[in-house]
């Protein structure tokens, strides 16, 4: 139905660390050349020790109008893949075919020369990014308008503030109109207002104008809101591919370092009778995958594993937790009795699970305390036992990432104008 725009098959990139990794001087070449000649003569194979596959056998397809995200840890090969797609470096193996005009934006302000004026840079950078002279002329006024540079357009860019610099550069980027856009983490520059503006523009480029976009980012929230599909790279290999949410949760769960997981067992300052003990805590996403970081506005589950040390089921158990900010100011708490869900009969072991439909916490680290009571008597109390990490997410379901740092909480609600 929709045609394939990008098709990559078995793409690989080999780097030779021995030569590329350090500055290789003419002196080194001269010093090495007798050895090289000798090796050639003896038909010795080059040592494979210094070879490193930055990418290996990566195959994928992108359909017209699709936004594909590329995620992975540092060094997973994301940038290498991007550079190959942008034709900056050739692959060592494999083949990629792309249909249509391609614009790759690996940085904001490619080719900007600080000595030149804003006007001159619009033309220069536009041409470097693949625009024709006529096209730039035609769009010039619009570019300047979008950037809010105004009268400073004829000033050398070196006198611009960094904000102005980025705004001008970005407005050139959004006025390119290629069929295929390859974007690196350029969105992560500028202030929050600018990041929102650029993300919004990217959104409309992809969704409203039907561009095919390949987007590489470390920001799961940006990937989550922009991409239809995601591929996950690990050590140069494609390890997962599929729906954005699914792959992101896989990534988030698989790559949680042990020490970043909240550890309940190590908590010393606990009190209570000990009839019920909490032994583990973790967060899950809606698919019951463990996560180390929850997202603002996201569905998530807090799972508290417990057991009764004496091996006897307990009666009338109430469980609750409270969230406080990083300085200990309580924000909210929740007990199972609040929703009349007191456990009349509690088994010997199991899990208390609390589900958030929309996590109301803003980005940050929070302290969580827990308390279990049996017949009103404290059984296990862990004040401020674990830290919870929250990252920006789309709380209001507008397709945009919220990023407000003034308040730790979000609330639902709506606005109406009345006279």
């Amino acid at each position: 139905m929709s045609e394939t725009i990008i098709k990559a098959s078995r793409v690989g990139k080999l780097y030779n660390l021995e030569q590329g990794g350090k500055y290789y001087n003419l002196r080194d070449l001269i010093a090495d050349s007798p050895k090289n000649v000798l090796n050639k003569y003896l038909k010795k194979k080059k040592s494979k020790k210094g070879n490193f596959w930055a990418l290996k056998n990566v195959s994928f397809e992108v359909k017209k109008g699709e936004v594909l995200g590329v995620i992975g840890r540092n060094g997973a090969g994301k940038s290498t893949l991007l550079k190959i797609l942008a034709r900056i470096v050739p692959p060592t193996t494999g083949k990629i075919s792309i249909k249509g005009r391609v614009a790759s934006i690996l940085e904001v302000g490619t080719g900007f020369h600080t000595e030149l004026t804003g006007r001159e840079n619009v033309f220069l950078s536009g041409a470097i990014l693949g625009m024709r002279k006529e096209e730039i002329k035609r769009k010039f006024d619009e570019i300047v308008k979008f950037s809010d540079i105004g009268k400073f357009i004829d000033m050398p860019v070196k006198r611009y503030s960094s904000g102005m610099h980025v705004r001008l550069a970005f407005s050139i980027v959004v006025h390119l109109d290629p069929e295929v856009l390859i974007i690196d983490e350029v969105l992560a520059v500028g202030d929050i207002a600018f990041q929102r503006k650029s993300l919004k523009k990217m959104h409309s480029l992809a969704k409203d104008e039907g561009r095919t976009v390949l987007f590489v980012s470390h920001s799961m929230t940006a990937v989550d809101s922009l991409c239809d599909r995601v591929i996950l790279l690990e050590e140069g290999r494609l390890v997962a591919e599929g729906k954005t949410r699914k792959v992101i949760s896989e990534y988030m769960s698989d790559y949680v370092p042990e020490d970043e997981m909240p550890q309940i067992g190590k908590v010393k300052s606990r009190s209570g009778s000990g009839k019920v003990r909490l032994i583990d805590f973790w967060m899950e996403d809606e698919n019951k995958k463990r996560i180390s970081t929850a997202m603002t506005g996201g569905q998530c589950r807090f799972v508290f594993k417990f057991l009764c040390p004496n091996g006897k089921p307990q009666k009338d158990v109430d469980f609750g937790f409270g969230i406080a900010n990083d300085v200990g100011q309580p924000l909210f708490l929740h007990y199972s009795t609040y929703t009349e869900q007191e456990l009349g009969k509690c088994p010997v072991k199991g899990k208390f699970v609390f589900s958030f439909d929309k996590l109301p916490l803003a980005k940050g680290v929070y302290k969580m305390g827990m308390r279990v009571t049996v017949k009103g008597e404290e059984a296990d109390v862990l004040p401020g036992a674990v830290n919870i990490k929250v990252d920006n997410g789309d709380f209001y379901k507008t397709g945009l990432i919220m990023d407000q740092s003034h308040s730790p909480m979000y609330v639902d609600g709506s606005w109406k104008f009345e006279k």
Binding site: A86, G100, I128
Partner: protein
């Protein structure tokens, strides 16, 4: 407004878009050049050249005046030192114009060679971030120096008038050919040296030294007659020497035109160009990783 513009430009491109397909594969053959792509990048070539010209004299007090001052000042200095003190022979040509012709070709050659050899390193930030035919980097930085020629030629014209030299049709026709020869020669060396420079920054330090040495081997401040019997061989393998010789004898009729040497020198220039170009294309895929 925005929408309208985008759809309009899409219409304009649709025809060529349908059949446009980029195929990315491991290294290509050096002479397998996508000429269509190079042609498409002509606006970029224009802007890169224009940038190099623009930034050269930015934030200088005298600005463009430097283009005129540079050859004038060196002419005066060279005339005083070599014409007056050292009493350098000049085939009975007035020394200022004698050395000016030498400097005209020499400066054009050395400045284009320096910037084309350095072009990959100086365009590093773009080459690493966006794709374009990489051969544009040396070409654009060489083209930028052609602009410098106009005022220099104007001064030459003034000097010729001052010394009441008869300007013949043949020299008017020959001068552009000679300049083109310099351009092709230095671009060829630049093609060869720029990938090496990307790999070994040593080139940057060797090159000025090499250029200085080569100037002594070129009849800039002395006449080519000083070479004696080896003159012809030197002129074939040093097209700069040949260009200067042809130009001087063309203006002043000191010697008849030596066509075989001239053509041999042109052939050598073309040979150097293709060797350089071939090497550049061969290295093209690897130097980005090293830059």
């Amino acid at each position: 407004m925005n929408k309208a513009i985008i759809s309009e430009s899409n219409n304009g491109y649709n025809g060529e878009l349908m059949d446009r397909k980029i195929v990315i594969t491991p290294s290509k053959k050096p002479l397998d050049i996508n000429w269509h792509e190079v042609f498409e990048a002509r606006d970029l070539l224009y802007f890169l050249t224009w940038r190099d010209i623009k930034i050269r004299y930015k934030q200088t007090l005298l600005g463009v005046a430097w283009i005129i001052l540079q050859p004038l000042v060196s002419m005066v200095v060279f005339t005083i030192i070599f014409g007056n003190f050292a009493k350098m022979p000049s085939d009975n040509i007035p020394y200022p114009i004698f050395v000016f012709i030498g400097l005209l070709f020499w400066n054009f050659f050395s400045s284009t060679l320096t910037s084309s050899s350095n072009s990959l390193v100086s365009n590093e930030n773009i080459l690493k971030k966006v794709y374009f035919p990489k051969m544009l980097a040396p070409i654009s930085s060489t083209l930028a120096h052609i602009v410098d020629l106009a005022p220099t030629l104007l001064i030459l014209f003034g000097l010729l008038l001052f010394y009441e030299v008869k300007i013949t049709l043949s020299i008017v026709l020959l001068t552009p050919i000679l300049l083109l020869m310099m351009f092709v020669f230095s671009l060829g060396i630049g093609f060869f040296l720029s990938p090496i420079n990307a790999k070994f920054r040593d080139v940057r330090y060797i090159l000025p030294f090499f250029i200085q040495l080569m100037m002594f081997a070129t009849p800039v401040i002395y006449p080519s007659s000083m070479f004696g019997g080896t003159s012809q061989i030197i002129r074939v393998f040093n097209p700069v020497a040949e260009a200067i010789e042809v130009s001087r004898s063309g203006f002043f009729g000191t010697r008849p035109m030596d066509w075989p040497v001239f053509f041999a020198s042109i052939l050598f220039t073309i040979f150097v160009f293709f060797v350089g170009f071939y090497y550049f294309r061969k290295q093209e895929d690897t130097f980005i990783d090293i830059l």
